[in-house]
């Protein structure tokens, strides 16, 4: 998987897992503002587990602190699963949760963003990982 030539013409799909509605909307609107990206949003890790086999995501953005399974478990699941392990994954964390962030990175997350973040910083990461112009 990963980058496929000529991809620019295709729309890419980003999964956003975040339980806070307002944060989810914020992230989703930032993601969707980038030309060529569709956002699929969900509020729980469980839902994410259900969505994974049904879509082909090009990137995943997940919160760590969630009520059902935590973001680390989701990262672990994604990174250990041959079907998804190549999908780049960003963590959204908040200040003060360095240990969890470090674990997420150790489990294979590509990047992390600390809330509150500027839309621009997420946008540039998206462009970089999704090879968008």
């Amino acid at each position: 998987m990963g980058h496929r030539p000529g991809r620019v013409l295709m729309r890419v799909k980003v999964l956003i897992v975040e339980d806070s509605k307002a944060s989810r909307e914020y992230i989703a609107s930032t993601v969707e503002a980038v030309e060529g990206i569709d956002a699929v949003v969900t509020s729980s890790g469980f839902e994410a587990l259900k969505l994974l086999p049904r879509h082909r995501f090009d990137l995943i953005i997940t919160d760590i602190n969630m009520p059902d399974i935590n973001g680390l478990e989701l990262i672990n699941f994604v990174k250990k699963n041959p079907n998804y392990r190549d999908v780049p994954l960003f963590i959204i964390t908040t200040e003060g949760r360095e240990q969890d962030r470090d674990r997420g990175m150790a489990l294979g997350a590509a990047e992390y963003l600390v809330k509150p973040f500027q839309p621009g910083s997420l946008e540039s990461l998206l462009r970089r990982y999704l090879k968008l112009p």
Binding site: A22, S23, S43, K50, N65, N70, F77, R103
Partner: protein
């Protein structure tokens, strides 16, 4: 709305939700001061603060964000065991909640006051300094746990901490593996969690990294069991779970096991008391489980397993000592050496054996026990409340380095029973709410103990539900949808008529096939409508606990001001009512509660002198009864003196002496609702506050509800508010009188009689009917409404009733039943008597809906006047 103000509204809405959840959890912690806090609840509060911080940050709400940061920080230390939850910490958290609410209110109004900013700033600073650190331990118990490093790497810091705590306490740790179908694994997991929760702590849920086939997914749950292996196994029977015990190497400080053993007898005695008291509430959950069964609330419902598990515990009540000993067993084992049974090679999967093999007791509660618990429930509430308080104090789990799983499991089971919608019944769970006053220093009893107990809104499956999954629907939008349903119902009725004529009338040049097809379409449409209707109604329903919680906070303040000592008991907060009704309820309820506190309840000295307990009980309870919800506001205070009521009513000329002679106790008491009865001066001598019990009654009337009072001198007073579950879509009986058509809400129709004019008797100049030996007050709707009367050979008498009141309403014709969408007359027409709204019945005919409560009222008033 501009994008900016829309974003702000979104922020305020979500922040409000978060703060509400936070407030409820804090209330529970507050109520259980002195007990060890439920780690999951503390984590829930942490998560709330965490979400709030992130949210505020995203929306640039700096003041809220900073305070949330401080709060989150403190809570983080708490949940990670770096800090003890003492009174000072809890008080500060409650203050912080107040500050959050004030900040949010300012934000919503677009203002920012200097004073509040400073207050928030100061508070954030204080939060950072707060709390005594827990003494450091030299060894990390987690090192003794044999767990794959890969698994450990997936734990968050918090999960790691919980695991550490469980190891430290010598709890037996299990890996519970279960595979589910991908399509509904969340249901399976919810079920598994619901079964596991009463038995211990689910520390982590790990989706297995191994691909579970195309349609499957496996999970590993790391579980700290508070019960013996056999009980765990029987608790999981019927689930796809496989168990394997995790090995914990013995602690170097082996002296601990000796200490644990020496504590055992005490623990047994304590758990005995707790079990006996706790059982009734534990058994009750089966009621709502049945009630909810028909309501398709799949997402919320895990009632079955949740109800069974505590039930199983109730069954144990007859041998509590045995129970304690068994439960204590794993602890001793874990501390003494490698566990028996699976042996050192503990990763082997055990099949779940038949419970009999393991000597486990039968699962679900025995019917006998449930029944007897139910029968004695009211007695327990009324007379044993204070013993329960004492028991609550006694069961505080040991705080030593080695916890006692026996006692802890009892507490856990009990709080399960008393918790949220999933598990608790409409009957107040006294045990949960009366614990407060128990283990507290005398000095701070008054302010803290009257703090109400919120019915913890987060049900047992809280770990599966996001803080923000609650749907907040704008009531205007809902009303629009409901209007749409009304229109759809119209279309349906028209279609039905079409189909009927096409099929029956051969002269119509349409094929029968056409008619059949049309009829089939109609049925399909009908089904869809029903689903839509049901969904809409449910969306409108909110737990009355919403308003109870708000009241609980106010009660605290009032009690303190009044200098009374009161336990405020809440029950049935999970009972659901139409949003509109719930919103409108807070004023009348506040009024009644204020009356109870100010005037119903005597000062402590007076109570002692009267041989009553020093602390009074004011209770607010909701219970669903069919299509109605009954809310009771009661106190065990001085009661209302009906003879004084009589005197006042006579004095004010509200009744004549002759009328007063005829009146029974109940009728006399109900005079307090007459307009003009109560004035502040006269009524404070009785027990009402006076200003406006008639207003309370009117408010309820607007909600199609009625109020009734019971009181006994020296014993107390209880107000019963009977309300319809919803106002929006109701089934109605369509009746005809004088060529007009009216709709009567079916939920208040008791029966319909066919009556010859000769059956109507005149008793003391009023018309009555004899129905099965009882005299039924009776009105002719045509006369009541001043319509031209038509001679008829027989009347139909629609017997309506609410609470104890009965009234026969005579009409000319019955046109059948129909679902109607009632629209309030609203605006200019609010004062129209006897009509609650209007509806469409098809043919664009607007039909008025009778206000049964008001008509009953009127009928009874006529009775009184004529009597």
């Amino acid at each position: 709305m501009s994008p900016a103000s829309k974003a702000l509204a979104e922020f305020v809405a979500e922040a409000t939700e978060i703060l509400e959840a936070l407030g409820k959890d804090l209330l529970v912690l507050d109520e259980r001061r002195g007990q060890e806090a439920d780690p999951e609840r503390v984590n829930g509060i942490f998560r709330a603060a965490h979400s709030l911080k992130g949210l505020a940050g995203l929306f640039g709400q700096e003041r809220i964000s900073r305070l949330a940061h401080g709060t989150e920080d403190l809570l983080d230390r708490l949940r990670l065991g770096k800090l003890l939850l003492d009174d000072a910490v809890l008080d500060t958290l409650i203050e912080a909640l107040d500050a959050f609410q004030a900040l949010l209110a300012e934000t919503a109004h677009g203002s920012e006051s200097e004073g509040l900013s400073r207050r928030a700033e100061g508070m954030a600073e204080r939060l950072g300094r707060l709390g005594a650190p827990v003494a450091a331990r030299d060894e990390d118990p987690l090192d003794r746990l044999e767990l794959d490093a890969q698994v450990r790497a997936v734990f968050t810091e918090y999960e790691e901490h919980r695991l550490r705590e469980n190891v430290r306490r010598g709890v037996s740790l299990w890996r519970v593996r279960a595979a589910f179908d991908l399509s509904d694994f969340d249901k399976g997991l919810a079920d598994l969690n619901a079964r596991l929760k009463p038995l211990g702590e689910v520390i982590s849920t790990l989706p297995s990294a191994q691909p579970g086939g195309a349609h499957g997914i496996a999970f590993d749950l790391i579980f700290g069991a508070q019960v013996a292996q056999a009980e765990l196994e029987s608790g999981l029977k019927g689930t796809p779970a496989e168990l394997s015990q995790l090995t914990v190497r013995p602690s170097s400080a082996s002296a601990r096991s000796a200490e644990a053993l020496s504590r055992a007898p005490l623990a047994q005695a304590e758990s005995h008391a707790a079990l006996v008291v706790a059982s009734p509430t534990d058994v009750l959950p089966q009621t709502p489980a049945t009630r909810r069964g028909g309501r398709k609330k799949g997402a919320r419902a895990t009632p079955a397993p949740a109800a069974t598990a505590p039930g199983a515990r109730a069954g144990d009540a007859s041998h509590p000592v045995v129970e304690s000993r068994r439960a204590a067993a794993p602890e001793a084992r874990a501390d003494a050496g490698p566990p028996p049974g699976p042996g050192p090679a503990s990763q082997a999967w055990l099949p779940l054996a038949d419970p009999a093999t393991w000597g486990a007791r039968p699962g679900p509660a025995s019917g006998d026990w449930a029944l007897s618990a139910d029968e004695t429930r009211s007695g327990v509430e009324a007379t044993e409340g204070h013993e329960e308080v004492a028991a609550g104090r006694g069961t505080r789990p040991a705080r030593g380095p080695v916890g006692n799983p026996g006692a802890a499991s009892v507490v856990e089971a009990r709080s399960q029973g008393g918790r949220g919608p999933g598990t608790s019944g409409p009957v107040p769970s006294l045990v949960t709410y009366l614990q407060g006053p128990g283990g507290r220093a005398p000095g701070r009893t008054a302010p803290a103990s009257d703090r109400p107990a919120a019915p913890a809104p987060v049900p047992a499956e809280s770990s599966l539900r996001s803080l923000t999954q609650t749907v907040r629907v704008d009531i205007g939008r809902l009303d629009g949808l409901i209007n749409m349903v009304g229109e759809l119902l119209l279309i349906k009725a028209n279609l039905q008529r079409l189909a009927e004529s096409a099929r029956v009338d051969g002269a119509v040049p349409l094929s029968k096939l056409f008619g059949q097809e049309l009829a089939r379409e109609t049925r399909g449409l009908e089904r869809k409508l029903e689903a839509l209707q049901e969904g809409l109604l449910e969306a409108r329903m909110v737990p009355v606990g919403q308003v109870f919680d708000k009241l609980a906070r106010l009660v605290r303040r009032i009690t303190r001001e009044a200098g009374k000592e009161i336990d405020f008991v809440i029950g049935g907060g999970e009972v659901e009512l139409d949003k509109l009704i719930v919103e409108e309820l807070s004023d009348p309820l506040m009024h009644l509660i204020r009356n109870a506190i100010d005037h119903g309840v005597e000062p402590p000295e007076v109570r002692l002198a009267a041989g009553k307990p020093r602390r009074a009980v004011v209770a607010l309870r909701a219970e669903q009864k069919g299509n109605h919800v009954v809310i009771e506001v009661s106190d065990d205070g001085a009661g209302i003196d009906e003879l004084r009521v009589r005197e006042v009513a006579l004095g004010r000329g509200l009744i004549t002496f002759a009328q007063a002679e005829e009146m029974g106790r109940r009728e006399l008491l109900n005079l307090i609702f007459l307009p003009g009865f109560s004035t502040a001066r006269s009524v404070s001598e009785l027990s009402g506050r006076g200003v406006g019990l008639d207003v309370v009654k009117n408010n309820l009337g607007n909600l199609s509800g009625i109020i009734d009072v019971w009181s006994e001198r020296g014993k107390g007073t209880a107000f019963h508010l009977t309300l319809p579950v919803t106002l929006a879509i109701i089934r109605a009986l369509v009746v005809g009188v004088s060529a007009r058509t009216y709709a009567v809400p079916l939920n208040s129709v008791l029966e319909i009689l066919s009556v010859q004019p000769g059956d109507i008797r005149t008793l003391e100049r009023r018309e009555v009917l004899d129905v099965r030996g009882q005299t039924l007050p009776f009105v002719r709707l045509s006369r009541l409404f001043g319509l031209p009367e038509r001679p008829v050979s027989r009347y139909f008498v629609v017997v309506v009733g609410l609470a104890q009141e009965r009234l026969g309403i005579a009409v000319d014709e019955l046109h059948g039943q129909q679902d109607i969408v009632t629209k309030p007359l609203g605006g200019r027409l609010q004062s129209v008597r006897g009509i609650s709204g209007a509806t469409d019945l098809g043919n664009r005919r607007t039909v008025l809906v009778l206000d049964v409560a008001a008509l009953l009222e009127e009928g009874m008033a006529q009775e009184r006047r004529r009597a």
